[in-house]
Amino acid sequence: MAVSNFVYNTFFKKSSSAALTVVVGAILFERGVDAFTDSVFEYYNRGRLWKNIAHLYPPKPED
């Protein structure tokens, strides 16, 4: 209860702070989902991505 009271009083009691919570929460949530998605894709496709294999193709010396 203490936690939910604290959350309610700090984030949702006033409309202004509730609106701010929604905006900031949306930004953080979206960044979290993006980071999670990228890490899942990178993990699953490890070895297939260019950044995994770029070191196998050293730049040709200029001549």
Partner: protein, 332 residues
């Protein structure tokens, strides 16, 4: 809303508590006499219906002939990195020993294969086929560095213009340029290829039935024509081509080119790599589509959870109420 629902509930429940009896409703007792039948008759009728349906189905399927009018050989399915295995039984049999197969959902293109495929396109197919909708900038950080892509572009000669005098001029390519075509127009391409037009390969894997599997099979599908098959001049026998006669000679032979990563350039290796590269050219958006689908799944799960919570929140007062009934007629 809530007071209305509450009033409604009270009315219904108090009537019920008072022993109010609803008029009985008889459902369609004129149209069906099945309910009044004896047990034996019911069983007989049900069995009869089953048998009739089964017999009709059997007769229908026996009447269907095997459809052998389709003379085309359909390509087998191959396990592309961005599409995955589609041989489920085999997959299930090997599952414990295999990496979890999610290629179809979250598999991306294989950069090493794309890189080899671009080499094959550039050194073999580009002699006849254009790739008009693909630009050099797309390759950056997909299968080559920016410097390499710039060098690739600079090797090409691009016709640009008109300049201040109204003349077209030639210049080395830049990253933003699209890949130049081998022929200036379709007619020139036809004349050079004995009347047949080598199609643009930008969208070839989505433009043919069988997609990647078809293009790969086509490149590997050359054979000696069986006895009795007449081929026109400039035509070659191919198992997978519509009508089995194709105006493109076999393009890939073992050891035709040399890969820069040292992979042995067998004909099937080259066919696989160039097809993978062409699949990328046709659907470069595939990777972002898959990511969007993944994110959509996460986000809509969260939204569903929120909606579920909000619904419970709204209905809590109705769902968790306790109702006690008092008989108003009874003297206390």
């Amino acid at each position: 809303m809530a007071p209305v629902l509450g009033q409604f509930g009270r009315t219904v429940f108090s009537n019920f508590a008072k022993g109010y009896s609803h008029p009985k409703v008889y459902l369609s007792n004129t149209s069906s006499s099945f309910r009044e039948m004896s047990q034996g008759k019911k069983i007989l009728l049900t069995t009869g219906c089953f048998l009739t349906t089964a017999a009709a189905g059997l007769a229908y399927s026996l009447n269907e002939s095997v459809k052998a009018i389709d003379l085309n050989l359909h390509p087998p399915k191959y396990p592309w990195p961005h599409k995955g295995h589609r041989h489920e039984p085999e997959l299930l049999a090997a599952l414990p020993f295999r990496k979890l197969e999610l290629d179809k959902a979250i598999g991306l293109y294989d950069a090493a294969s794309l890189r080899r495929g671009w080499q094959v396109y550039k050194q073999v197919c580009a002699a006849c086929h254009s790739l008009r909708f693909v630009a050099y900038r797309q390759f950056v950080d997909l299968f080559m560095t920016e410097d390499e892509a710039k060098a690739e572009a600079a090797e090409a000669t691009i016709t640009d213009g008109p300049d201040a005098n109204g003349k077209m001029f030639q210049r080395p390519g830049k990253l933003a340029d699209y890949i130049p075509s081998p022929y200036p127009n379709e007619e020139a391409a036809r004349v050079a290829n004995g009347g047949a037009y080598p199609p643009d390969l930008s969208n070839i894997t989505v433009g043919r039935e069988g997609d990647e599997d078809y293009v790969f099979s086509l490149l590997r599908g050359y054979a000696d024509p069986p006895a009795g098959v007449e081929l026109g001049e400039n035509q070659h026998f191919n198992l997978y081509m519509q009508g089995n006669a194709i105006a493109m000679a076999q393009a890939l032979y073992n050891g035709l080119i040399e890969y820069d990563d040292g992979t042995p350039a067998t004909a099937s290796q080259m066919a696989k790599d160039v097809t993978h590269f062409l699949a990328y050219c046709a659907t470069p958006e595939l990777e972002s589509w898959k990511k969007y689908l993944f994110k959509w799944t996460i986000i809509s799960t969260c939204l569903f959870g929120l909606a579920w919570y909000y619904k419970r929140h709204l209905w809590a007062s109705l769902v968790y109420r306790r109702v006690a009934y008092r008989d108003v007629n009874k003297k206390h």
